[in-house]
Structure formats: structure tokens, C-alpha cells
């Protein structure tokens, strides 16, 4: 087998444009099978050493430390204090139930809006420092909001259930209203931001339903078993709106 001349290899390594195409072709074909000529070429290749180093750096597996914490992908990393606070509200309501002798239960009045306050953080411009980074990522959108909402509900609903046990508050009475408030806050949040929507809805609830109910010492009519179908209707309506406007959550909200 005849080998490539040293001069031609030098010109090839220096990127000489003057070599005829057929010679380049023959040279490259020969290089593929001839180790000694490849070695000759490598001796001329000082100029491309930095490039090779970069390629090798990209190919070499990076060292990854073995011990790592698992990232929570269900609850916003900023959401833990917020959830703690809403659990505290439930606990205070439970204490008030135990200490006062009223006909209405504080837990029952707080339960419909408490999970919503936790959800307010699922998509919050002010409380979530990474908001803009998150909103610009592929995963942003209704799915991520719902994922974080579920993360909150999974913690909040058992907590409220436990808080209601001493006062014998049936979860059946507040479960649908609390879900309705949660999705309602997300829908209203499309217009005014989820946090503001939660605050508005919680305020309305306290002023219109919880306040008068405490003053008159009776269970508000909207929490009677007879009103449950209406709460279910609200949930269905809100979910439909969310489905139609799903893409809004992948943009910057007000």
C-alpha cells in the first residue's frame, strides 16, 4: 500500500484550499484505514488541539456528586411557608371550636377558603421569585398550575379533615365548596392574577357568608347539603373556562 506524502499531509492539515478534490478524497479514504498516516496527520494538528479538547470535554461524562436532595416538583419550592400558614389557620379554627360554644363551627367556615389561599401561591408573581423563569419554560401552563394545586390540596384537605374531627364537621359539607373556590380563584386569576383573585374571593366569603353566620349563630345556607349541586355546577363551569383559556398561564399574568 502506498502512503500519503508528508508534504500533502502537511498541506491538508493546514487547510490548504489548493489540493484538488480527488486528491483530498483519496487522502481521506486512505486515512480511514491507515494508522501510520493518521499519526503523521496528528503530528501536524497542533492548531486544532484546542478544538479537540473542547470536543473531548463535551464527551467526557461530567462528575456528578452522589448525594443529592430530591427536588419537589409538586409543591412550589416557595410554597412551604404558605402551606404551613394555612394549616395554622385550620388549627386555630379547631381551637376556637373547642373553646367556644357556638352552633356554627369555625372549621366549617374556614375550610372552603383555606385550600384556595394555599393555591394562591401556585402561580404567584410576587411570592414566587422565579416567576418569570418559570413562566418562560416549556412546562409552564395550566398543567404546572394544576400540578402545584394538587400538591397543595393533598396536604390541605387531610389537615382540614383532622381539624374538623373534634367538632364533628363533615368533610362532605366543605369539600365541594373548597374545590369550587380553588378553581374559581384560578379562573378569576386569569383576569386579575391568582393571588389577588384569592384575596378577593376570601374577602367576599368572610364578609358575605362567614361574618353574618357567626353573628346569627347558624350554619350558612350555602353550606347546607341542599346547595352542594350548585357548588358542583360552579366547579364544572370553572374547569371548562380553564380548559378554554389554558394557554394564558404560559404567558406573564398581571
Amino acid at each position: 500500500m502506498s502512503h500519503v506524502s508528508g508534504d500533502l499531509v502537511r498541506r491538508y492539515a493546514n487547510g490548504d484550499k489548493g489540493i484538488p478534490a480527488d486528491q483530498v478524497w483519496a487522502l481521506e479514504a486512505h486515512m480511514e484505514t491507515c494508522a501510520s498516516c493518521r499519526q503523521l496527520l496528528a503530528s501536524h494538528a497542533d492548531g486544532i488541539a484546542p478544538l479537540l479538547d473542547t470536543v473531548w470535554a463535551g464527551l467526557t461524562p461530567a462528575e456528578v456528586p452522589a448525594k443529592r436532595r430530591r427536588l419537589s416538583t409538586w409543591i412550589t419550592p416557595a410554597g412551604f411557608p404558605w402551606i404551613g400558614m394555612t394549616i395554622l389557620i385550620a388549627a386555630i379554627a379547631m381551637l376556637l371550636d373547642a373553646l367556644t360554644v357556638l352552633d356554627t363551627s369555625f372549621v366549617l367556615l374556614v375550610a372552603p377558603v383555606a385550600p384556595m389561599l394555599g393555591v394562591a401561591l401556585a402561580w404567584n408573581k410576587n411570592a414566587d421569585p422565579m416567576y418569570e423563569l418559570v413562566a418562560g419554560s416549556p412546562r409552564a401552563g395550566l398543567e404546572l398550575v394544576l400540578r402545584r394545586t394538587v400538591g397543595v390540596l393533598v396536604v390541605m384537605i387531610p389537615a382540614l379533615f383532622l381539624a374538623g374531627l373534634p367538632g364533628r364537621v363533615s368533610p362532605a359539607l366543605w369539600l365541594l365548596p373548597s374545590l369550587a373556590f380553588t378553581v374559581g380563584a384560578l379562573v378569576l386569576g386569569l383576569l386579575i392574577g391568582v393571588t389577588r383573585a384569592s384575596v378577593v374571593l376570601a374577602g367576599v366569603w368572610l364578609l358575605v357568608v362567614a361574618g353574618p353566620s357567626l353573628a346569627e349563630q347558624n350554619v350558612p345556607a350555602v353550606l347546607h347539603p341542599a346547595s352542594l349541586p350548585y357548588w358542583a355546577l360552579i366547579i364544572v363551569g370553572c374547569v371548562a373556562v380553564l380548559g378554554l383559556r389554558a394557554d394564558s398561564f404560559s404567558r406573564l399574568l398581571r
Binding site: 422565579m130 418562560g136 416549556p138
Partner: protein, 257 residues
């Protein structure tokens, strides 16, 4: 290597905007902008309030244009599914926060998860991005213990982690010291051969040393697009400024008013 990576492109430039209008609050911050950006490093220059941040936000698809059209990688990022296009974008906002209990690695890892990268690829991609942003020695330190410039570099690592084809950096050199700035320009140069990098800045020297292309904006409009050399040639000795680029900058902005 996948077939998608080696497939020939079917578009002329990575970013194309025609008659683009974007609102920031009540103001029309980007107004009738025509722009076409290909592979390379593009510096967006302009005075404060010129609409640089709004333009970058719109290119990052977090703001919806109120008129005109944008095409990214030959696709219109409208409609309901922004996911495929966003996977190709790296975005560093002008201001960004972080969760205080996160380390640099966790921060970049969380972003990689948000960018829907395959689980098996995440640890290596995160390490590589941290290495490229020169934060290797601080990778397992909490973000809140880092200086402003280092946090900025963590932001750059986050933007690079998914190997984006469009990289949008809003004021990336703020808070970097001169040595880090030089390193950052080196990074930009290494990206310029296969990525469409858009860097907004108000520092003319950033543009002079790292950009292949300059876009000058004023009041939401395009004033000039060309190489740094053409920008320098636009100025004459009588213009305000200490360097040829600064003189070109003030000459073009003065002419536009």
C-alpha cells in the same frame, strides 16, 4: 445525535419579526419593528426605555405580541402549544429571583426539569452548564451565599442547560467584574458559530468585543442593524463619545430623533 439535529433548516433566519408591536402596560414598547436575526451574537443596544426588555420578553414567548408577527426557527409561537419552541430557547430575564434554599446545582436542575429535559440527561447537562458558566467550584453552595455576579452566572448556566438554539440574555453583564466580563464574552464567542444569541445591553463596549451584529433601538423602533464596524463608521469626530462605537451610537440616535 438524532435525525432532528442534523436535518437541514427550512427557514432563512432563526428570528424574524415583521411589523411587531408589543405592549408593556399601557405603553406600546415595541412599535412596528422589522427584524431578522440569524446564527451569531446580536447585541441589542439602545437607551433606557427603548423597548429592549419588552422585545426580549416577546421573543421568549412570555409576552404576546399585540400586532405584527414573530417567527422563531421558522414557526409562529402563537396558538396553545408553546412547548416545542420553548424547548429550543434559553432565556435569562433582566431580573430573576431564586428560592433561598436552592444550591446552584438545584437551581439549574429545577430549571432543567421545567424545560422538560429527559430525566437521565439532566445531571450531566446541569454539570456542563455550570462548568460553562464557570461556577464549578461553587456548584453546591446555596445561591444566597453568592455575590451578585455569581448569581448572574447561575442565571446564564440556567439559560444554557438545554443547549438552546435561540439564547436570549437580558442585560447579562450587569454585576460582572471586568475579568468575568471577558470570560462571558469568550463564552459568547464560543456560542456564536451555531446559536442565535440575542444580548440586550446598554454598554457599547460589550457589543464591540463580542457581537457579530448590532441592533440599535429607540422608542420601540429599529434605528440601525449592521456590524460593529459599520456602527463605528457612522460616527464622525464631532459626535459625543469616547470611542468610534460610541460616536456612531450617538450619531445614529441623534439622526433618528
Amino acid at each position: 445525535m438524532s435525525a432532528a439535529e442534523t436535518a437541514p433548516t427550512t427557514y432563512a433566519s432563526e428570528i424574524r419579526a415583521v411589523g411587531l408591536r408589543v405592549r408593556a402596560g399601557r405603553r406600546m414598547a415595541v412599535n412596528e419593528l422589522d427584524l431578522s436575526l440569524g446564527i451569531g451574537v446580536h447585541g441589542i443596544l439602545g437607551p433606557n426605555g427603548a423597548g429592549k426588555t419588552t422585545l426580549i420578553r416577546c421573543l421568549a414567548t412570555v409576552l404576546r405580541p399585540s400586532g405584527g408577527s414573530v417567527e422563531l426557527l421558522g414557526r409562529k409561537p402563537g396558538g396553545t402549544d408553546l412547548r416545542p419552541i420553548r424547548r429550543e430557547i434559553g432565556y435569562l430575564p433582566q431580573q430573576f429571583g431564586f428560592y433561598s434554599r436552592f444550591t446552584v446545582r438545584e437551581f439549574v436542575e429545577y430549571m432543567a426539569w421545567l424545560k422538560e429535559m429527559p430525566k437521565a440527561e439532566i445531571p450531566e447537562a446541569v454539570q456542563r452548564a455550570i462548568d460553562r458558566a464557570d461556577l464549578t467550584s461553587r456548584a453546591d453552595d446555596k445561591l444566597k451565599t453568592l455575590s451578585g455576579g455569581m448569581v448572574r452566572r447561575a442565571g446564564i448556566a440556567q439559560a444554557l442547560v438545554n443547549n438552546p438554539r435561540i439564547l436570549l440574555l437580558d442585560e447579562p453583564t450587569v454585576g460582572l467584574d471586568p475579568a468575568q466580563r471577558m470570560q462571558f464574552r469568550e463564552l459568547l464567542r464560543s456560542l456564536s458559530s451555531d446559536t442565535c444569541v440575542v444580548v440586550s445591553t446598554h454598554l457599547v463596549e460589550d457589543v464591540a468585543n463580542a457581537c457579530t451584529d448590532v441592533v440599535l433601538m429607540r422608542e420601540g423602533r429599529l434605528v440601525f442593524q449592521g456590524t460593529p464596524e459599520t456602527l463605528a463608521a457612522a460616527g464622525s469626530e464631532s459626535e459625543a463619545g469616547d470611542s468610534p462605537l460610541e460616536r456612531g451610537y450617538s450619531a445614529l440616535l441623534g439622526r433618528a430623533s
